[in-house]
């Protein structure tokens, strides 16, 4: 009996990392894609002081290619300055550059979700899919953001938590108007994060 209770409790503790509870504690981590995987390789190499490896992984990987492809939507010079930081063996500065990139990716996803909802896409499909994608990128930037602006980090996590609730209501379909407003709030917070935390010259867009 005791063993069964303890086993149940253990399962409960482990369940903490499943999505239902995990968002509340910030533990939830979506699966990597090629960009986030490349980011982790670069980050861990730089943290290990292996900047030559980090630079090669960065130069040849999908992370840099994506930064270059999206250059017009990013703070001006972001990619070049991130690369320069790796060359200068400045892991913290390189991480800041990459965090800014991920925040920009997350912002663009929030804007795209809003656009699709406005065009009449089903909120039950759009909401969870875009939120998963937003968290995949933002999760990787949160620690760096929080170190520079704790309020922005907290505001983002609370807004994300709200959006999650709206996207997966206990009953019925998600309310499209409220979900749109929620994505709009996420986009605004992320845009502010880029404005206030990036040391780079900003591009008006």
């Amino acid at each position: 009996m005791i063993a069964a209770r303890v086993a149940g409790a253990l399962l409960g503790m482990i369940f903490l990392t499943a999505p239902a509870a995990a968002h509340h504690t910030g533990v939830y981590t979506p699966k990597d894609n090629a960009i986030t995987e490349n980011f982790k390789q670069v980050k861990f190499s730089a943290q290990a002081g292996k900047f030559d490896v980090a630079l090669r992984l960065y130069d040849a990987g999908p992370l840099r290619a994506e930064m270059q492809a999206r250059a017009t939507a990013l703070p001006e010079g972001l990619e070049a300055r991130t690369r320069a930081a790796l060359l200068a063996r400045d892991a913290a500065e390189a991480e800041r550059g990459l965090a800014t990139f991920f925040v920009a990716l997350a912002r663009d996803l929030a804007l795209e979700a809003d656009r699709q909802l406005a065009a009449g896409a089903a909120p039950a499909a759009v909401g969870p899919r875009f939120l998963e994608a937003i968290w995949r990128y933002y999760n990787l930037a949160d620690f760096v953001i929080g170190q520079r602006d704790a309020r922005a980090s907290v505001a983002m996590r609370l807004a994300y938590d709200d959006a999650e609730t709206l996207a997966r209501p206990a009953s019925g379909a998600p309310d499209a108007a409220r979900l749109r407003a929620s994505f709009g709030r996420l986009a605004q917070i992320l845009a502010n994060v880029i404005q206030t935390t990036t040391p780079f010259v900003r591009r008006d867009s």
Binding site: I2, R5, V6, A9, L10, G12, M13, I14, F15, L16, T17, A20, A21, H23, H24, T25, G26, V27, T29, K40, Q41, K43, F44, S45, Q47, A48, G49, K50, V53, A54, R56, L57, A60, G61, N139, L140, D142, F143, G146, Q147, A150, R151, S153, V154, A155, R157, L158, D161, D162, T165, A170
Partner: protein, 406 residues
């Protein structure tokens, strides 16, 4: 194509090599130790600092000749804060990298899953961050050690202080899933043991966004103290709502150290003003041991240390035990750990209790003032550790029933 293959090899080397510290010695013999935890994401604040604590220890050890004449190297792995990857990475560290010590993980779910791996492969395993109550009770094995105060230790230390100094009547408000239930019941058990009275208990279901429906019941029971067992965004939301209802000023507030991520405190400083927590490290503590540790940490990394400071001591304990055992053999090293004490750690003296391998150490109670955790009392290790309960359910016979006092 050859270029791609070459890059794949480089990537594998980078990941397998992990965060290997720069060589400080010219020794040819190397012993590897594993560092497992949340290296990216919201919990990076703990996983990254665990790595840094280990790096500081390894640098100091290697500067003095390493361990048993071996240069120590760290292999770091990211467990994605999930049990399944944590198990995979732990097996990789043990079977592929041949680490003689594994430190980690950060989340209790991942740590408990890794305990099965370290037990199976007889690997010395130190936990310096996770605080579930089961690791030194039902999940315990002979290769496992911890210098992180678990929820029972925190509840014991907090309950005594609350009953003595803050008020005997306490309302327990918890988040109604495993973590909140665990913390709530540990605290209720501890408070009733020291003569405090639980005047009310409520569990808010997961996904609660509006906590105000519970505020009426809290006010009606008229507690001196509100004990809160929540985590993550729930804590942030709850504190904001309590503050807007004037309840952060009306009641004294307390909780365990998992209540709020340390890095979030400046963002929610006003609602948290006066909140009491028990913990073992704060860079704002004037204690000479903590300041000495923090100074070394700052010198190396340019930033303050945090509660992952225990990872430094974990490596130092393991190194001392290996030297004592004159071997890296895990059975011999495990036995050498038992009863071992170290002075001048970040919290002063730490001793490993033989029965459950939990470190006995003093802890400090902190109160939030101006967004910083400032010390208000010291709790001796023996007052908080509780009796050894290896193999037993730590809350056997527990009931949420309220025992009214006149």
């Amino acid at each position: 194509m050859r270029r791609v293959a070459w890059l794949v090899v480089l990537a594998a080397v980078a990941v397998a090599g992990g965060l290997v510290t720069a060589p400080a010695l010219s020794q040819s013999k190397v012993v590897k130790i594993g560092d497992l935890g949340s290296k990216v994401g919201v919990f990076e604040g703990y996983g990254k600092y665990q790595t840094m604590g280990m790096q500081l220890a390894v640098e100091e050890l290697n500067a003095k000749g390493g361990v048993l004449g071996h240069k120590v190297e760290i292999v770091s792995e990211d467990d994605e804060t999930k049990p399944a990857p944590a198990v995979r990475k732990a097996e990789k560290l043990i079977l592929q990298d041949d680490v003689k010590l594994l430190v980690g993980a950060v989340s209790s779910g991942a740590t408990m899953a890794v305990m099965d791996v370290t037990k199976k492969h007889k690997t010395i395993h130190w936990n310096s961050v996770s605080c579930a109550e089961f690791m030194r009770t039902t999940k315990f094995h002979k290769y496992y050690f911890s210098n992180q105060p678990d929820s029972r230790m925190q509840a014991n230390g907090l309950a005594k202080y609350i009953a003595d100094k803050m008020g005997k009547k306490v309302y327990i408000f918890y988040t109604d899933y495993a973590m909140g239930q665990s913390d709530g019941r540990q605290f209720k058990t501890a408070l009733e043991k020291v003569g405090g009275e639980v005047v009310g208990v409520a569990g808010a279901p997961l996904d609660t966004k509006d906590f105000s429906p519970w505020f009426g019941a809290i006010n009606q029971s008229n507690p001196d103290v509100l004990f809160l067992a929540f985590a993550g965004t729930d804590s942030l939301r709850l504190m904001t709502q309590l503050h807007s209802f004037g309840m952060t000023k009306k009641y004294k507030l307390a909780g365990i150290d998992c209540f709020l991520l340390q890095q979030d405190l400046p963002a929610i400083a006003e609602p948290m003003e006066g909140f009491v927590q028990l913990n073992h490290f704060s860079p704002h503590n004037p204690d000479k041991n903590m300041q000495a540790y923090n100074e070394r940490f700052r010198k190396k990394f340019g930033t303050d240390a945090n509660i992952a400071a225990g990872s430094y001591d974990a490596v130092m304990f393991w190194a001392a035990a290996a030297e004592k055992a004159k071997s890296f053999d895990s059975d011999k090293v495990a036995e050498a750990h038992e009863g071992m004490c170290r002075d001048n750690t970040h919290i002063g003296r730490q001793c490993i209790r033989k029965e459950d391998h939990q470190v006995v150490m003093d802890m400090h109670l902190y109160q939030v003032k101006g967004g910083k955790n400032l010390p208000i009392a010291r709790i001796t290790g023996n007052d908080s550790i509780g009796e050894p309960m290896v193999g037993k359910d730590p809350v056997e016979g527990f009931s949420w029933e309220i025992k009214k006092k006149n």
